[in-house]
């Protein structure tokens, strides 16, 4: 682990900017900075979004778990619960289709000139986040921990070595992508 590099906070902000520039470049080249492509995915007529996400998962997963076995990285799994992941996920989904962008792709949409993203969407997300911050103390006490399952990962849940999950999952994803292509999507 590069712990010394990780602790250089100014340099890290610069690395974050560089990584963001790359990510924005890739999102724009992938076309997922476009409302039409994202809504096409949600209307199940264009599968660009899911192709990008699933490919990134396979490549990212193999690399990150490989580096983890070499002791080069540590994982950062997020905790979840029924109240948090299912209900929050559904609210996100309603917003996803209504807005037509997500927090990452909307930033890319702004960069390529989409004014509905800049004037409507970005302001909306900031207002929404402010509303959630206002609600947070009550929600956290009464709702966000309902059906809590913590930050468990599938290998731990199934009590198997991570590669017993990674290899079949990669095969399934690649098979699904192959099927999508051959079905003409």
């Amino acid at each position: 682990m590069l712990t010394k590099l990780h602790s250089k906070s100014k340099l890290q902000l610069f690395l974050a900017l560089l990584a963001g520039i790359l990510f924005g470049f890739f999102l724009q080249k992938g076309g997922v900075s476009n409302y039409n492509i994202i809504l096409g995915q949600l209307l199940l007529t264009d599968f660009t979004v899911i192709k990008i996400i699933l490919t990134a998962i396979v490549v990212g997963m193999i690399g990150i778990y490989g580096m983890k076995s070499l002791g080069l990285v540590e994982l950062h799994p997020k905790s979840g619960s029924f109240g948090k992941s299912v209900v929050g996920g559904l609210i996100f989904g309603l917003g996803f289709a209504t807005l037509g962008y997500c927090p990452g792709t909307i930033s890319a949409a702004v960069g390529q000139g989409n004014l509905d993203a800049l004037i409507g969407g970005i302001i909306g997300i900031i207002i929404g986040a402010a509303i959630f911050a206002q609600w947070y103390p009550k929600l956290n006490k009464k709702f966000l921990h309902l059906g809590d399952f913590g930050d468990i990962r599938f290998p731990g849940l199934l009590k198997v070595n991570a590669w017993i999950v990674i290899i079949p999952l990669s095969v399934i994803i690649i098979g699904f992508l192959y099927w999508l292509e051959s079905a003409g999507y």
Partner: protein
């Protein structure tokens, strides 16, 4: 170097590039990529202009301090990266109403802006409620095989697919 100037890459090339980029952020920064906390921090920074230090005492901003951090710079970088990509391919264009929306609801700006604002509010609430977005859960969380992220992203798409049907096939 033609690929730098292309309008569109294969989604698989983009997926591979994003996957490799995630190796780098884990290795060099000990960070998974994510975008939605940047918006929460920005809301806190704006609130600070009105109520000052009281923002820092709010329970949520104790957890996510209202200041510029790694993820905030990452999101700022996305805008720049997309701008560069769009400039190189000549696809930069100021567009108020997206084509698909205009085909169904017309090209008037106000309805689209209002709906984008409402959608943004739902997305702001939902992403912080679920504790992540399509990047933080959808890419970083899923690739770590995190259970909460797989559940979240499945419900992102369930909610999104239902709402898209309502907007375009029930209302539209």
């Amino acid at each position: 170097m033609d690929w730098l100037f292309m309008t569109k890459w294969s989604p698989y090339a983009v997926g591979i590039a994003i996957g490799i980029m995630s190796w780098l952020t884990f290795y060099l920064s000990n960070k998974p990529i994510g975008c939605s906390t940047a918006f929460a921090r920005t809301s806190g920074m704006i609130e600070k202009l009105f109520i000052g230090r009281k923002v820092d005492e709010k329970e949520y901003f104790k957890k996510f301090p209202a200041k510029i951090d790694w993820e905030w710079m990452f999101v700022f970088g996305i805008i720049i990266g997309s701008f560069i990509s769009a400039q190189l391919s000549g696809s930069f264009e100021a567009v108020m109403v997206p084509q698909l929306w205009a085909n169904t609801f017309g090209s008037s700006a106000i309805p689209r802006l209002l709906v984008a604002l409402i959608g943004g509010i739902l997305m702001g609430i939902g992403s912080r409620w679920a504790g992540g977005c399509t990047s933080g859960h959808g890419i970083s969380g899923t690739l770590q095989l995190t259970v909460s992220s797989w559940i979240s992203v499945i419900f992102f798409f369930i909610g999104g697919i239902i709402m898209a049907q309502i907007i375009f096939n029930v209302i539209g």
